[in-house]
Symmetry: C2
Subunit: 82 residues, 2 copies
DNA sequence: GTGTGACTTTAAGTCCGTA
DNA sequence: ATACGGACTTAAAGTCACA
């Protein structure tokens, strides 16, 4: 499958990082969010471009501030100084 | 058209706010972003759920930090303490 | 200069499976 | 517990004519 946009790739890395930090599985996170497990997998691997509501839901269920999550994502982008 | 999710509605308000702050029109912003003017209109009115890459592109062309933009969006959500 | 509805095309998001 | 793929359904992307 083709890779998504840089921001989505970075977002995926942040999600994986936070999920592991919480010690939960993709399946658990998926269920909490009401999303499919394979979709979480695709997001974490940077293969999909999630919508704002999806990003929001992920933040809520990872119990991390939405803005903090976005900031974490930016850490994974080389030229992240906008 | 049906209203989008709360985060998208809030995001739309932030976009409109920042765009006006920059003193540019929807048409100008649309051209910079390579998007359609009417699509910008729909986002600002909270009728669409933009993807991360779209939000990213808007931030770049509004010359605002992505995280800052998201923080501005949260200001428009009542219970924004996640 | 923007709002709006209807529209077509593309990608998000699901569900099945295999490894 | 996750990667990966194919086929599928739904929603977002993107456009247009008109008010």
């Amino acid at each position: 499958m083709a890779e998504a946009s840089p921001i989505s790739v970075a977002f995926g890395k942040a999600i994986r990082q936070e999920r592991r930090k919480k010690g939960i599985t993709q399946e658990e996170l998926a269920e909490k969010c009401g999303l499919d497990r394979t979709y979480i997998s695709q997001i974490e691997r940077g293969l999909k471009n999630p919508t704002l509501p999806v990003a929001w839901e992920l933040a809520i269920n990872l119990e991390i501030n939405f803005v903090t999550l976005m900031a974490a994502a930016l850490q994974h982008i080389p030229g992240a100084s906008h």
